[in-house]
């Protein structure tokens, strides 16, 4: 049997705009790797650990805004993609996950590296396809190419996400002939469309909006490069509107509240009514702040409108108060609404702005005398990281600290907040560094770094990658969550306390290594760290911070800003 349909696969991928594939070495998928590499139109990156490979592809797809293909061998390799696939599903990133498989008749018949791969990502995939073994028969050729056409388009429409293509291959595996492109079946194209709000509905919404004395806009995670700054500037000037954004919103608009946790700290039951809006308007992906979720669930505003163009998850009622889902893009909504806006007199925006300003001043006062700790390190980093860098924030500590700094909004910011796992933050940043023309910096905690240290295992790591590792000895996040500190028996299990450094790992994989243990050494390290390295290596900067002091400094901070 000839494997010429693999050449067809490569041709369809390339025809439909797939330009990059991350492949992991294996035997069953080797003919598909050969076919992709023979096509010359798709750039291949080889990453051996499929878990890391999955997150590399995620980081690349985030930058490209097009699907990146993944290709692995049969068996548990496919399951090592699962953490990246579930993140891509909830973060809405386009991935084309191709898993080579044994022929169907050999499933569960005692053959090696054979598992039930069909529908293996069932709980967290846009759609799953199972391709025919060969395309000699016309109906198989039709099915093979039609399914691939749909699979690629489904990574982007109706909303971006991961799609699974299971590719069973029969032996002999290496009878690979280039596909005769004159026999290339037609390509099926999906027409781009725009979802609009009908005029009548729009006028009704505008009327309700204009009459409401207080409106709160809360924006979740958004891909950098959206056009919302201009569209929202009109709203930001309205005294009846307050806009809350997070670092991951990638919205740098004057007048927004950018540090939600800092601002809402201390809004007591007595104060809550004043901050409760008539209308809550939300859009974007995940919201990092647990405190705002908890506060809004208490508030239960009379109306909550949620803008969400994804037809797969409408009626997302995160704040227990959803009254209207608007299944269109936020750009469309704001553009359509703009001509009908009227300014409404109110002190609502001022109420938020004054609180924000007061707490910002307390923030600076506090940090000016805070001892060296995680918090101080973040202050120094946000002051010194070049603004041209594309900034990745690891889970869970780095992304939470970033929310406390106005300066964080000056960066193009990424974070794996789909499922908020620590499993692939470094690989995601490394993948981004392969595509991005800007340098890429990731700030990670020690547990997240060690978890994903295979991100460094790359024969040709991207020169623009900079890893800043804040090593406080492990798992300090659990010191900030109320509760566990009452249980001493938990310490050895929950804290992952350790005394490991990253130096050996960094040197092993050919990264330049820098370290710092106080404000002075950190300041001195930053310039050479961000500079060009010998042999164009990427670099890792490990900052050692005191664990208990760091936890205390953060706890005292929240007391101080409301004192």
């Amino acid at each position: 049997m000839s494997q010429e349909h693999l050449g067809l696969m490569a041709a369809i991928l390339s025809e439909k705009g797939v330009t990059h594939a991350v492949v992991s070495p294996g035997s069953r998928n080797a003919p598909a790797i050969i076919a992709l590499s023979q096509s010359k139109k798709i750039k291949l990156l080889s990453i051996a650990d499929e878990r890391s490979a999955g997150f590399y592809a995620l980081g690349m797809a985030q930058q490209l805004r097009r699907p990146v293909a993944l290709l692995c061998t049969s068996g548990s390799a496919a399951l090592n993609y699962a953490p990246a696939v579930v993140e891509a599903y909830y973060q809405k990133v386009p991935l084309l996950v191709i898993t080579a498989d044994r022929p169907e008749e050999w499933i569960d018949q005692g053959d090696g590296q054979t598992i039930r791969q069909r529908d293996i990502y069932a709980n967290y995939i846009r759609k799953s396809f199972h391709l025919p073994h060969a395309v000699a028969a016309p109906e198989n050729l039709w099915q093979f190419s039609r399914q691939l056409n749909e699979a690629i388009d489904r990574t982007l429409f109706p909303a971006p996400g991961p799609v699974h293509v299971n590719l069973p291959l029969r032996e002999p595996l290496y009878d690979i002939r280039p596909f005769d492109l004159s026999k290339m079946p037609r390509t099926i194209r999906l027409l781009p469309v725009e979802t609009l709000i009908p005029q009548e509905e729009l006028l009704r919404l505008a009327d309700i909006w204009n009459k409401a004395g207080s409106k709160l806009i809360l924006a979740g995670q958004m891909t950098p490069g959206h056009k919302l700054e201009t569209l929202l500037s009109r709203f930001a000037e309205d005294p009846s509107v307050a806009i809350l954004t997070e670092t991951t919103t990638n919205l740098n608009l004057p007048g927004c509240i950018r540090c939600i946790d800092r601002t809402i700290e201390g809004i007591s039951d007595k104060l809550i009514a004043g901050f409760t809006p008539d209308i809550l308007l939300t859009f974007g992906g995940a919201v990092v702040s647990k405190k705002i979720k908890s506060l809004l669930r208490k508030m239960q505003p009379a109306q909550h409108w949620h803008i969400n163009p994804d037809t797969e998850d409408f009626h997302l009622d995160t704040y227990l108060s959803l009254t209207l889902t608007i299944p269109a893009g936020p750009e469309t909504f704001f553009r359509q609404l703009a001509p009908h806006l009227q300014t409404t007199e109110s002190n609502y925006r001022a109420l938020w702005a004054e609180r924000d300003k007061a707490h910002r001043e307390r923030h600076h006062t506090y940090l000016a005398s805070a001892p060296f700790s995680d918090f101080r390190v973040f202050e120094l980093l946000f002051r010194h990281i070049p603004r041209t860098t594309c900034l990745h924030l690891g889970n869970s500590t780095p992304i939470r600290y970033a929310q406390l700094f106005d300066e964080a909004s000056e960066f193009e910011t990424w974070s794996n907040r789909g499922t908020s796992g620590i499993d692939g933050s470094v690989s995601t940043a490394a993948g981004a560094a392969i595509i991005s023309e800007k340098p890429v910096t990731i700030i990670t905690g020690d547990i997240g770094f060690l978890y994903d240290s295979n991100a460094l295992w790359n024969t040709n790591p991207p020169a623009g990658l900079r890893i800043i590792l804040i090593n406080n000895g492990g798992g300090n996040i659990f010191r900030f969550i109320p509760g566990p500190d009452r249980f001493e028996e938990l310490e050895p299990f929950i804290e992952t306390a350790h005394s490991f450094s990253a130096e050996g790992i960094a040197r092993n994989f050919g990264f330049s290594y820098f370290s710092a243990g106080d404000a002075g050494s950190l300041s001195r390290a930053l310039q050479p760290f961000f500079g060009k390295q010998e042999n164009n290596r990427p670099a890792l900067l490990e900052v050692f911070t005191p664990s208990k002091t760091s936890a205390q400094v953060l706890k005292d901070y929240f007391k101080f800003i409301i004192s």
Copy 2:
């Protein structure tokens, strides 16, 4: 809401014989960790990377022959268990996989670390349970404890395997009161039973067996400690019976063919009829040798009996010739059949034995003058590794080389041949070293080692663990598979070529490090390596071998033994 049912969970686990749990730090599962640790009856091991934690538990459960509990937080953490769960499923190892979850009402409502965990391992799990959030209502108490009773028993009956328990928890998470043991519900016990072959059927089988002039017994992977040596010795003496075993069969019986690939090399189409048995009898798990699978599929013996006590996967037709499934244990079958056996005159055993002997002699001649290479390293290792060691063999190269040495049968041997992944061999060995009273040695290739290097990330790594890493620069297995060497474009992708050493990683995690680059330095390193280390550390020995020479030595070997 009180979390007292977590105390009940700990009590039920302990009551039903769960003595060990591998936990990974997290927020949602923290109360369950506290409850397990308060019970004092279950030993907890904390491993941060859930992929590695899963394989640690697998290695521990292999040694204990009882379920080991796994406990992780919600979200993608659960999916990092998937590679170990699928391996446990196909290797039939008991694992109790407990995944903390967000409350059901919050699934897909924009909350953090929340995915659809129900049935998340659907394709590779014995059974999945979804526990109630609390046990205040009597029906919930009944459901909670009844489900846990069944889940634990299902890890062992009707055959060992992984079982999933999804554990949704509501806030407040840390209202943990010890469970009042006087309220402990009854424990449900599962009576051990034995499946027997009825006398009439047994006599019929014995009659067919005794009349057949040639019988081939092929044994797959078996857990060390089985009682088959004595039972099979009677068969081994029968001139009409040839017994083929692999290293992973853990059967050290004189007269067996232990090196299948070496023996069957060169059985041409002309010779095949002589080796084809009247009856093929198989039992045990996965068979490593691809060559024997391919040969038997060609032979298609008239009868193939397969002994398999697992009711979940009967009619496993690996050799395209299955005629009878015997759903009982191999011990039972051989014990029941023994009294009815008659010796049958035949030259069948002799035919196999002569070929085995001839190829063994060629093996020794070849190796005596072979240059330093992977093959020579294995020869030295099998000569010098202390026989008391519990030997783990990584995928894919080490397990394949081991099949070529008769000496490999002198060890208690383990290998992840359920799905034959490279993803967790080192963690599995590390888990075994925690339980085993014997020292544990793992032989791994470089790709498998780097893939699973988080196995070393353990604040208290077991002193008895010895890692032998054969570093030939990456992925040499693909040089042995016919086909890919014709495709030069494949080299950079399929080979994972690299120039990394493990020294930095070993030192980072506090392992003693040894290295060798030729036969002399290897011999000198072995004694101190296997000796007691400073501070009771585990140790890693890295053997650097030439990549192309190693591939050539193995290719030439198979030519030489049949020349």
